[in-house]
Amino acid sequence: MYFSAKNLTGGYGGPNIIEDCSFEVNQGEIVSILGPNGAGKSTAMKAMLGILNISSGEINLNHKDITNLKTQERIKSGISFVPQINNIFTELTVRENLEMGAFLLEGNIQKKINEMYQLFPMIKEKKDQFAGELSGGQRQQVAIARALMTNPKVLMLDEPTAGVSPIVMHEIFQHILNIKKQNIAVLMVEQNARQALEISDRGYILVTGKNAYEGNGNYLLNDKEIRKSFLGG
């Protein structure tokens, strides 16, 4: 597997929020982490990024152990993250948001920016507007584009469709499918479980900080018990 986290245990200093969690994602694959509120989904993602210190476990990227790397070093090695909130620079223009995403890249970034314009046509239209003036769905697109500017191998998304309308949600999922085609490993935490599984290759269901179920998207969608407990019938 390209990016994997094994037996992660950790929390915010108090009791452990996640216990013995494991996730894996390959290039060109979309993997969703689902589960009820407070299951530790976002915490697991923070642990994989190194924002949260883990007490035990191991994180590997392309067969290299990155468990002891700091967040910024992990980003340099090819992991990119879109937080759930505050995920854009509101006081910078849309174009400047992309430029900041490419902060670590040397040389001409215009080619990369053009790629983003192609992937998200809306961004080209609004490139000189302040990102804070955009709508919720547009902000998410800018946020994802900013994260893609670092040329990541792994893209982690924390609830990319939180608080947007069903139409916008569909649109964002379409963009995520396009990102998958670029051979990027996509790992996302989602509240809209059913819709997320429809575009996911595999999924993990987390309950009270532990791996409860895992499997490919169709299996999780069709399993009776899982449907009843987590997908609303």
């Binding site: 967040t71 910024q72 937080p83 620079f89 006081e91 910078l92 902060f103």
Partner: protein, 336 residues
């Protein structure tokens, strides 16, 4: 003719002095606003950092003068300015490494940092008074006036004179130049943009690979440049006195908050709002009204709204009004 005289009068006593004072306040306010934006605390030591910067410039000016170096019609202090800036940058970085860094690592609250900056204010203030003394120092040399009042009268044939001090022109030109460079840097260069990005959203800046230590270093450098330039311009214009800078802290903070704290462009405008209010409200308009009103309506009193002794009350009043009715400032800044 009386109408033209009244305009000349206003220019001489309100507009030109207020523009000059506004520039000095604006440079100070931009510094305060940058510290607030990047380091996230209100730096009360800023006035005394200006005093320290000006003191360094004066010391270098004296050194240059003792070597017989001068700048012709310009004040020698302009040659000494870069050296003074370097000294100020060094002391800023010294206090950052020895004091602020410790509290930053501990993730102390902004209130704690304000108290810390108060302590540094006392240290800097004492340091300046020990080194150069508490008295008045005039370090302005070169030509005093661009145009004197009686020269202006001869030149135009007017009865009302207009004097333009060379320090006023130097202040205006230096401020315009400094602001152009600063805003170009903040808006057009990669490093400047990353500074704005860090100020706007620290966590996301870290996720984008922006190095916080570099941003903080750069902020102290820029702020020290602004403090030294603003302090030196103020000192050239009105002579140097350590406590004067401490007193200026109030109008500078008022300017910062009027413009919206964290917003450099706002701070620039804020400086002029404060300067024009202060000078406009403390000026005695008697002569002005004598020019424009018919004889029977001429005022007997000075027509001065507030005595100059109370000029700081004006900054304070503006500060309170803005905080009550528009805590974001005129331009959108952060709420404090």
């Amino acid at each position: 003719m009386d109408f033209i005289y009244s305009i000349v009068l206003l220019n001489n006593f309100i507009i030109i002095p207020a523009l000059t004072y506004g520039c000095q306040l604006a440079l100070g306010a931009i510094g305060v606003t940058l510290i607030y934006g990047v380091l996230r605390f209100a730096n009360f030591a800023y006035g005394d950092l200006m005093a320290f910067g000006t003191m360094s410039v004066i010391l270098f000016t004296w050194y240059l003068q003792s070597k017989g170096i001068s700048f012709g019609v310009f004040p020698t202090a302009l040659i000494a300015l870069p050296f003074g800036i370097i000294a100020t940058i060094l002391i800023s970085l010294f206090f950052d490494k020895t004091v602020y860094q410790y509290y930053r690592k501990k993730k102390s609250s902004p209130v704690t940092l304000i108290v810390v900056s108060l302590a540094i204010m006392f240290i800097l203030n004492a340091l300046v008074r020990i080194i150069i003394g508490p008295g008045n120092i005039n370090f302005m040399d070169g030509a005093r006036f661009l145009i004197k009042a009686n020269e202006f009268k001869e030149l135009t044939g007017f009865d009302e004179g207009l004097a333009i001090k060379s320090t006023q022109v130097i202040t205006l030109v230096t401020t315009i130049f400094t602001c152009l460079v600063l805003f170009y840097f903040l808006n057009k260069t990669k490093t400047g943009k990353s500074m704005r990005a860090y100020s706007n959203n620290e966590d996301l800046a870290l996720l984008s690979g922006i190095d916080p230590n570099k941003i903080i270093f750069l902020t102290w450098v820029i702020v020290s440049i602004l403090a030294t330039v603003a302090g030196t311009l103020y000192g050239l214009d009105k002579s140097f006195k350590p406590m004067a800078y401490w007193n200026n802290l109030l109008p500078i903070f008022a300017a910062t908050i009027v413009g919206g704290i964290g917003n450099p462009l706002g701070a620039l405008y804020g400086g002029f709002v404060i300067a024009f209010s202060e000078i406009g409200l403390t000026y005695a308009y008697k002569k002005f009204f004598i020019y424009i009103l018919p004889e029977q309506l001429e005022p007997n009193s000075l027509v001065q709204y507030i005595s100059t002794d109370y000029k700081f009350a004006i900054s304070f009043a503006i500060l309170v009004i803005v905080l009550l009715y528009r805590p974001n400032g005129i331009f959108k800044g952060k709420v404090i």
